[in-house]
Symmetry: none
Subunit: 133 residues, 4 copies
């Protein structure tokens, strides 16, 4: 199983922090490995305490289904294919922007989850993080 | 981290009770501190027992995301930025009116949660409570 | 069903606070009614945040089984009659000192739960509270 | 309420990692703030995935009761004052070595939790971490 190391997770988090500072919004940032298990998390000073859980679960969700949580969310609205998926997995499925699979050589090796702002902000920070690996 | 005391919580609850009596609707009222931890709760005589949990979690939610639960609710409808957030944090995220961050000198120091009536009533009581600090 | 009012709960809590101050140990104090539902809770300044849940659940347990949690605990040790009871009721059964049924005219009308010190302290405060009704 | 920053948490984690490397046992290390909310977590390469939750909850427990989880564990054995406490707080109370309150100027400002080895190892790493603040 191709996965990522703590050093990888830290560099992903560093990229996320840089972007969060650039846009002026403190964030929770979490990285999971290929097994969906947490490798590292940080809550930047001033970031929402309710977003600790959300960042970790966005990271998990993006690896669990190898999809961005933004895309999953679009398919989880009423009437869509995955409507109701948030009832599964004991509340770990997050269906709004900010979670992105982490890939290396075209293979998913983990996921990053960002939470602390509006959807657009979370997504921008997660994209910067994912692009850094 | 600026927070609030039990004496603060009691005066917030007293303001909420006064408003609840004025509108003739018994309420559950809860106050959390800056860490999101419960400081005090009361259930007025005749108030719903199902609202104990809701009042506590509205208070938590308003501090956890530094936002009113009414506003969070408006952004958590299908198609909105935070649709699905109620699956996070083990069922503690309340997305309807009645939770308001408590601020002092422009800083969030806790949250108040009110539950026992329709949204408009919960919100009116929570607003009276929040304004009293 | 004979039960208690918010005014009753507040006078029980006041008695508990007075005792807690006398022994110099800040406490969480909770009161449930005859239905086992929370009527009021306070966390005194400086009391443990981990004891919010414990105080509420000691109050619930003492009403749920019409027994002190100290007595229930003595019967819940390995080899005793109720060993394992803490696995029931979704983690709400507390089996150590500090929870006492509240009675009026010989009838149980609720329960008080105290948490914040060692067993002896919690018990002393709960006894002062229960005696006040 | 005195608390700690992400920079503080990172320096505590760095001290823990150095000690874990010295004893040759990869660890999960978590830091919570004064409100008991997670500030940062790392899982060192090769550390147990089952210890993610344990490290976070040891950190929470040590702050929630302002006590080391080792000491709490000694008082939570059958017949002791806190026997049964692990049923409270929805499974977040850890009662074995590896969690230590973080103090500054004699005040508890958070907690550190370490999990990944036997009790003696977790405790040694947590002590090195706590001493570094």
């Amino acid at each position: 199983m191709k996965t990522l190391t703590l050093a990888d997770a830290r560099s992903v988090i560093a990229a996320a922090e840089a972007k969060a500072e650039e846009i002026g919004q403190p964030m929770n940032i979490a990285v999971v490995d290929a097994g969906g298990n947490l490798v590292a998390h940080v809550r930047m000073d001033g970031a929402w305490i309710g977003s600790v859980d959300i960042s970790i679960n966005k990271a998990w969700t993006s690896r669990a289904f190898d999809i961005t949580t933004k895309h999953l969310g679009e398919n989880s609205q009423p009437g869509q294919d995955f409507y109701g998926i948030l009832a599964s997995n004991n509340g770990k499925v997050m269906i709004f922007a900010g979670g992105i699979p982490l890939t290396r050589d075209g293979q998913v090796v983990g996921g990053v989850g960002v939470s602390g702002g509006i959807g657009e902000q979370d997504q921008a920070v997660a994209e910067a993080a994912a692009a850094s690996l």
